[in-house]
Symmetry: C2
Subunit: 524 residues, 2 copies
């Protein structure tokens, strides 16, 4: 087990901070290891190390940066069952999920490694000089994406690997050329420590400057706030609650130099089931939906919380069907007692709502578990009370009956920003589907016409992001190849000698990357 | 002359608002035309019209959108001398400058027209399905950049055409597919009205939905604040003061749904003159610098305000030389009395500073004019008092003597974000130049190694933007092809029938654009 001290580059913090332990999700018992909250001196040390490491890491060639990312993935895989066991104990997530998440984490690192080794992602643009142009000579201008500087990444409670220490934000920031400081989530500090060791080991074996990676522990919120406020920090990645995310947005906007915050916060992921689809395949839709609602005990950002059904489709019958499917699923262990308590409160608030009917009350279950629940209301009630579209983090859904396509469209328009929106339709639903898709693309980052929103491809076209409050910055994705753009800015060099330009912009195209030359794609 | 009422889509606002007139920059006399501040009902009407026009304008094919942009350019050119005369009278800018700015404005519109007609700018990415994949079938995911929705653009005092009604932000927003609401700058309402007529005429002749363009007048700040706070508005473009820009950033971040603000605010555009360069070409550097400092009477965002010279290069001698060059330039008329007064105050504050030596006091000049001025201080003083690096909007520069390369580098590191940074070097300066460039790319959007920062190419590689406080969002440019990205977000469709996808993502590639297919560039 790791010693429980923070990772400041290649050193560990001095002992003396407030101590805390990790607890098993299932029983709340202490797990081995005593972790210590970092001090404000530790925050400053990590931030300064990151700033000092930035120039050399930024200028590291893509192949070396790729080797570092690949080495992190290899080191994580080498942890094998040790990592799986610790993550399972700390989060209560089952073994296949942890193994799948580990594979995804390593896959993400390798996706970015491939991109930076190839190199064209920097969007190199060259406009050549024309000294003969009248009335004024034309200068030579060349631009490309450059890393912003040190990035702070907050580990996420619900993804101990894929959105935590070596998760998506860490991978894309390191790929872009930004040093990373992780604030470990106190719910899985042991998992975080194992992964941090893997990263530090990779950085050392690749001969990188100290400070390319640090990780700080904290039982509370002080370290995170100090990190976001530190002048050396240039961007923030966060996955968590709306309260936490908006607090970080405020903190970042009030700095003397405001910085971008990419916070993923809250989404109810509406699923529209159109009449033709329900007539054709209600059984399959209910089965698929029940699996999606309960996947990861409903603790996914993409968990479908709102299911919209036309009154013409007999919502009561579908509610009964879905309730049966949900009721047949064995309740799983939730991540921690705070999340479980929050689920219980939010669920109870729905149950107590005057406009809401309880379809499936939560089954009696072990105290650490989150039993599925299902409720029903009307589109009118949802418009009348924004509380009904607030995220309930857990395996719970609300069926909303809408009075025809106009009410469905009106409901779609009234939605806040979402990570995903889904429309199941049959051929007979074409016009309603078309109209809904036109609205939903303005409300969500990913629009689905088949399947369910949980489970996410990691590829070049995926978007995991959406308008506020799904995320703080709806222009950006936290998953997939395009996530690398969040930690970059375009920089232009004018009339700069070739030898002083980054290789991606040098005239001979030494990296052999795709570039734009005088406004057109350049031959290599 | 236009009637002085706001443009609400294809209608004009009702009379009754507070009235104001345009004044000549040279004499302060009233120009023809009585303009009326828009009401809050006008703000709401323009925002609702824009939101209503958004879906059809978003879905308009690229060639039709290009035709609209080209028609705006043609209509502006057709205004000819009428536009030139009015803009000259309102701003005091000379005829060649207004004609040049008109050409640039039309050139920008045509640059974006070319991009949207061709269509590849949307960064279409397709990952095909694989139903046979184990353990889970692979869905079909496709993403592209989509417009964010209605955009508010603030006309800029210092560029009545290129950064105003049909300026860069309007052009890039319309190109991206966003309706635009302009808040006309009260300093040149007549110019704004003529250009608004040109845009409205183009929108009508292209058969576009009402609300794709509106323009509101206001003598004060209420209309701008109301626009930024309106729930239909999804992004903001602004060029102006740091006070104004940061106020808009605050307003936008405090909305129930925060929105992006692209504010260009403040930059002193440091110019580093290294010893070898000064030894080789002090005379040419002084001549070029004097022209750049006084271009547009120093009222350019890219005006060089800070000139750093090594003590080894005899900064006093160069200061004398530059002072002579500046003193020989005839003072020009400034944009308005507010800007002139502000110039006088900021300049006087420099002159009165204990650590600052006056090299060229402002010459006696006509009351509307801004005479050039030059001051000198040390790098130590600049680090000791941030006031010395505040922008002085006008033809004024501060020479800073630095004690060797280490002080130059320290000064570069201490700079706030800038639009530009320039380093003039000779072969003997290579190491200092390399070290400075490494720092300056983190402080500026555009780094120059020859020439001076005023005057901006409009092409695909230019960056006009920079870290805060140069702009509110250092990841973005307001000039050049990449400016189209600021008003877009990536949207992903999953398992969506071809007929319901935007044409850019349909399997047959009907637009024949460059796309990414399964992670690689696709053949057309």
């Amino acid at each position: 087990m790791t010693s429980g001290l923070s990772y400041l580059g290649y050193h560990r913090s001095a002992p003396g901070g407030e101590t805390f332990t990790a607890k098993t999700a299932a029983t709340g018992e202490n797990l081995p290891g005593l972790f210590q909250s970092a001090s404000s001196a530790d925050v400053d040390a990590a931030a300064r190390l990151a700033a000092a490491a930035f120039p050399s890491y930024r200028d590291l060639d893509g192949k070396s940066r790729a080797a570092f990312l690949n080495q992190i993935a290899a080191n994580i895989e080498e942890l094998g069952q040790t990592l799986t066991d610790r993550a399972m104990a700390e989060t209560g997530l089952p073994e296949p999920r942890i193994k799948g998440e580990t594979a995804r984490t390593c896959g993400q690192l390798r996706l970015f490694a491939g991109m930076v080794a190839e190199g064209s992602w920097v969007d190199a643009r060259i406009d050549e000089a024309d000294p003969a142009r009248a009335p004024l000579p034309k200068p030579d201008t060349r631009s490309m994406l450059r890393p912003v500087g040190p990035v702070v990444v907050f580990g996420a409670a619900n993804f101990p690997l894929a959105y935590s220490t070596a998760g998506g934000d860490t991978a894309s920031a390191l790929a872009a050329g930004c040093p990373v400081i992780v604030k470990a989530h106190p719910g899985h500090p042991g998992t975080a420590g194992l992964v941090a060791e893997a990263i530090v080991k990779a950085a050392k074996s690749c001969g990188l400057a100290e400070g390319v990676f640090s990780m700080l522990y904290d039982a509370g919120h002080a370290v995170g706030s100090r990190l976001v406020s530190h002048p050396c920090v240039q961007a923030v990645g966060f996955t968590g609650s709306r309260t936490g995310g908006t607090a970080l947005m405020k903190l970042a906007s009030e700095r003397p130099q405001p910085i971008p915050v990419y916070a993923e916060m809250s989404s109810v992921n509406p699923v529209f089931l159109l009449p033709g689809a329900l007539a054709e395949r209600a059984e399959a839709l209910a089965t698929g939906l029940a699996a999606s609602v309960t996947m990861g005990v409903g603790q996914f950002c993409t968990s479908p919380g709102l299911v919209i059904v036309d009154v013409a489709s007999d919502p009561e019958a579908f509610a009964q069907l879905l309730g049966e499917k949900l009721g047949a699923i064995v309740p799983g262990t939730m991540l921690n007692s705070g999340i479980r308590k929050n689920y219980e409160e939010k669920r109870a608030r729905l149950a107590a709502h005057a406009g809401v009917k309880e379809i499936l009350p939560p089954a009696k279950a072990a105290p650490a578990c989150g039993p599925p629940a299902l409720y029903q209301t009307t589109a009118f009630n949802v418009l009348a009370d924004p509380l009904l579209t607030e995220e309930v983090f857990g395996p719970c859904a609300l069926i909303v009956s809408a009075n025809g396509p106009a009410e469905m469209a009106g409901l779609a328009r009234a939605l806040e920003g979402q990570l995903t929106a889904t429309v199941h339709a049959a051929a007979s639903d074409l016009e309603t589907q078309r109209s809904l898709l036109g609205i939903l693309e303005t409300r969500a980052g990913r629009v689905l016409c088949a399947g369910f929103p949980t489970g996410l491809e990691v590829n070049q076209s995926i978007v995991h992001g959406g308008p506020f409050p799904a995320t703080s910055d709806g222009r950006s994705t936290s998953v997939g190849g395009a996530a690398i753009f969040r930690f970059t800015r375009q920089v232009c060099w004018q009339d700069t000698p070739d030898a002083l330009l980054p290789p991606a912009l040098q005239s001979g195209n030494p990296l052999e990357i795709r570039r734009t030359l005088n406004g057109n794609p350049a031959k290599r």
